[in-house]
Amino acid sequence: MTLNDIMFYLFAGSILTFSLLTVISRRILRSAVYLLFVLVSTAGIYFMLNYNFLAAVQLTVYAGGIIVLIIFSILLTSHVSEKAVVAPVRQQIFSALAVAAGAVLTILTITKFAFTPTASPAIEANVTNVGRALVSYNRDGFALPFEVISILLLAAMVGAIVLAKKEKHLEVPGNQPNTNPDNSTKS
């Protein structure tokens, strides 16, 4: 067993422990920090698979962006010392049973299936190849999903701003504010 294998099992163990702690911990802020550890360990696995660009994206977008967003929203919506409401014990037991059955079934299927890798020569996933494939419109290019995802991000950004902004009751200049009784009663 080389050092790389030991590193993989280290990352896998930290992913599993911290994801369990994420769903079990009763303090919401702590479980957000545990989720951060899970995402950083996942980025470590991507680094060990030689997918450096993907690992960097994982670190910046997930660990840097989404976790900060989640922590901000936790601080906006609950107190730091507030404990999460737990589900009833019966529901916890049945959820655990269902989840365990699903996991056992999936793992049995995985171990029985014979995966056959292709014999074709490998492409290295360095930044040059990734960038070329991302903007190429040939057979192995991803220009269309790239454009679609950019439009999706723009739409999500505008939508998030529109949803989260406070509603202001604008009064049109030159209009009497209280002429319509329906407007004044609405809060």
């Binding site: 599993l16 769903v23 989720l35 989404i66 967003l69 998030a160």
Partner: protein, 105 residues
């Protein structure tokens, strides 16, 4: 570089992570922690894509780009979800799913 670790080890890891996320989604009552469980699920699916790409089809980069797109979708989904959650909190003063049984005031 991990060459000696078998493919099944990665797949079992991502399966366990996926079902831990499902467990969190089923048992949590707070909207933000449910969102965090969804992030766990998406992350485990990403590991699957990347590992299939690396071990089975190294002559393409399809799994790599699938993961990139999933990360982008997860980011936009988290932004919109948190906007909705903050709006709900502003109107109902609570983000526990047990208290949310109407869609508007």
């Amino acid at each position: 570089m991990i060459d000696n670790v078998p493919l099944n080890a990665f797949l079992i890891l991502s399966t366990l992570m996926f079902f831990i996320g499902i467990y969190g989604f089923l048992t949590r009552r707070n909207l933000i922690t449910m969102l965090m469980s969804i992030e766990l699920i998406l992350n485990s699916v990403n590991i699957n894509f990347v590992v299939f790409n690396k071990f089975l089809y190294p002559n393409h980069l399809h799994g790599h780009f699938f993961s990139l797109i999933v990360i982008a979708v997860a980011a936009s989904e988290a932004a919109v979800a948190i906007a909705i959650i903050i709006n709900i909190y502003r109107n109902f003063k609570s983000i526990d799913v047990d208290n949310l049984d109407q869609m508007k005031l």
